[in-house]
């Protein structure tokens, strides 16, 4: 096992010693900074409302009226119920709603878009890690060691996923710090209110953000595995990167186009967005969280098996 730790060290060294890894981290930090500045200087920060309790109560009256008007629509009713319950909780527990952008809201905003960027970066990292050794010929010296090819491939895959974790931690810290600098560190103690089955409770923002990261990473995880499969099977980094990023970008369009067919539920991308079961609505009514997880598992096993078979069986002619 210590042997495998050495392999991970090797792959990590090869990822971070390349200048591309540094460039990726810098691009990510640049994007966070740009997003922060745009939000800070484009919208006006609304004025503080000293009578916020009255405002919230007023708002709830409006919401109740609207809810009555959409009777029968479960989705809309749920949304109104949630808003009303949270407003009531704020009034009862004296939790003033923060106006405009706050530290935590910024961290949350940064998550959605930057995880797509991190997906692309990780696809590049995993494809380069697996395929570039065939281009440069270093694969020959790599595979004539007393280590099975399976272990080599696994170490490359895990190291690429560790790169994702490094990016997520960087994203979290950088957006938290920038959020604090731009919108005030006072916002760090803001309460995070969760509505769950009719009751509202306070929970930690950190937990909520990481849950958000995790849910957003499902499609990252699948596409990185897909890129790994292409890189291992065709030994061509460009192909793996291009195909994976294209698929990632085209996925939502394809799913939307195919939405009316019932077999769309077996398409990978219909299942990668798990937030459809937490905060959204499922793509098709018959789909459940368990169903999606099962579909994802099947795709995952197929990707891994094909990539592994090609990587370990094919002759090295590079």
């Amino acid at each position: 096992m210590s042997n495998f730790f050495g392999l991970l060290q090797n792959e990590n060294m090869k990822i971070y010693r390349r200048s591309s890894a540094k460039v990726m981290i810098i691009i990510m930090l640049g994007l966070i900074l740009a997003a922060g500045l745009i939000i800070k200087f484009s919208g006006d920060q609304p004025k503080d409302d000293p009578h916020w309790k009255q405002t919230l109560l007023q708002e709830n009256k409006e919401l109740n009226k609207q809810m009555a008007s959409v009777k029968g629509n479960k989705q809309a009713t749920d949304y109104f119920k949630k808003s009303i319950a949270i407003n009531e909780y704020r009034v009862n527990h004296n939790l003033k709603p923060e106006q405009g952008e706050t530290l935590w809201k910024f961290v949350e905003d940064a998550a959605g878009n930057l995880i797509l960027v991190i997906s692309i970066f990780t696809i590049i990292v995993v494809s380069t890690s697996i395929a570039s050794e065939f281009d440069t010929g270093t694969i020959k010296l790599l595979l004539i060691r007393p280590i099975y090819r399976t272990q080599i491939l696994l170490s490359k895959y895990i190291s690429a996923l560790l790169f994702t974790v490094v990016c997520l931690i960087t994203l979290f810290i950088a957006s938290w710090l920038l959020g604090g600098i731009l919108f005030g560190f006072g916002g760090a103690s803001e309460a995070h209110l969760v509505y769950d089955n009719g009751t509202v409770y306070q929970s930690s923002w950190t937990l909520a953000i990481w849950k958000d990261y995790l849910l957003n990473c499902v499609s990252l995880f699948m596409m990185v595995t897909f890129a790994g499969l292409i890189a291992a099977a065709f030994r061509n980094g460009g192909l793996a990167i291009g195909l994976s990023i294209f698929t990632l970008m085209a996925s939502s369009i394809v799913v939307t186009l195919l939405q009316k067919f019932d077999w769309v539920k077996y398409v990978l991308f219909a299942n990668t967005d798990l937030t459809q079961y937490t905060t959204g609505t499922p793509l098709r009514e018959e789909m459940t969280l368990g169903f999606s997880l099962a579909v994802l598992a099947v795709y995952y096993v197929i990707f891994v098996l094909i990539g592994w078979a090609f990587y370990t069986r094919r002759d090295i002619k590079a």
Binding site: M13, K14, S19, T136
Partner: protein
């Protein structure tokens, strides 16, 4: 080759190894042994299958039939144990250019348990890279990369060392050093060294035995001296009358001898027939002052065996 090598177990054994890609047979039923303590040369024109054979020995390519054993371990069935014995450069020594020489060596050292930092520095000194080892490989010359390649192959004290075209890019001093080092490894540490090279003169100096490959078949495995002597050698004889001597050989033995000057004839004749030539001349009362075989170079012999095909 020391004589006791024959009774040793072979360090590398190829048993009826064949490789087919599609319908094409790249390697056809190759069987031979390589012993500890010898330098074995792989010779053959390009496309003869030298590199394919080396790739099968180190497990980069699968064989279609047959098996290869390294120190008794099958490369197919017991890959880890077999490959643990091997240090190799396959074709060019491609290293990670964005890492330093030292980081490259650390990388390979991590893949085999028991290689200390001291051992890394030891091989660095051995290939005389200590001044530049912390520079990126990008900035190395071809010769330095070659030496770094040798260093990674030696890190784990392999008992079988495989060097594909090892003198590529080395200057004459580098070639000289490498040759001495290979001899030292084989003689003193009993390592089996396998080299392939197209530099035939180099092979003649480096190798104890050579195996000749042509079109995926093994034409022969011989010691270097056997290989050269076996062929039709030329004998240069100093006589009193070269034209007469040549005429006699033509009449009696049907050999076309050349007479470059008045007192010298050059007779193309097999090694074992030299006494017959001398007898014939003596009986015919030709005075013989000296007899000398003109040794053929490995290159002459090689071209002869492979049918005059260009080596490169």
């Amino acid at each position: 080759m020391s004589s006791n090598a024959e009774v040793n177990k072979p360090a590398v054994r190829l048993e009826h190894v064949s490789k087919r890609i599609g319908r094409k047979t790249i390697i056809d039923d190759l069987s031979f042994d390589i012993y500890s303590g010898e330098v074995f040369g792989f010779l053959g024109p390009n496309g003869a299958g030298k590199t394919t054979t080396i790739r099968m020995i180190v497990g980069l390519m699968r064989m279609t039939r047959g098996n290869i054993y390294i120190q008794g371990h099958s490369i197919k069935g017991d890959f880890k144990k077999a490959i643990r014995q091997v240090g190799a450069i396959v074709e060019n020594p491609e290293m990670y250019k964005f890492l330093t020489g030292y980081q490259n060596l650390v990388h390979y050292a991590r893949m085999i348990p028991g290689i200390s930092k001291d051992r890394i520095m030891e091989v660095v000194k051995l290939v005389e890279l200590q001044d530049r080892i912390h520079e990126k490989v990008k900035r190395y010359s071809l010769g330095m990369r070659q030496r770094l390649g040798v260093a990674q192959a030696l890190l784990h004290h392999p008992s079988v060392l495989i060097l594909d075209e090892p003198t590529n890019g080395l200057d004459p001093q580098g070639i000289h050093d490498l040759r001495n080092y290979m001899h030292k490894l084989s003689r003193e540490e009993n390592v089996a060294v396998i080299v392939s090279s197209h530099l035939l003169a180099e092979m003649q100096l480096m190798c104890d035995r050579i195996g000749i490959l042509q079109k995926g078949k093994l034409i022969g495995v011989e010691t270097v001296s056997e290989f050269i002597e076996k062929g039709a050698a030329k004998v240069r004889i100093q006589v009193d009358d070269s034209r007469l001597a040549a005429q006699i050989l033509k009449d009696k033995l049907a050999i076309d001898a050349e007479a470059p000057d008045e007192t010298t004839i050059e007779v193309p004749v097999d090694h074992e027939k030299i006494p017959v030539v001398i007898d014939t001349l003596v009986i015919s009362k030709i005075k013989i002052y000296s007899v000398r075989t003109v040794a053929k170079s490995l290159e002459d012999r090689f071209l002869e065996v492979t049918g005059g095909k260009s080596v490169e």
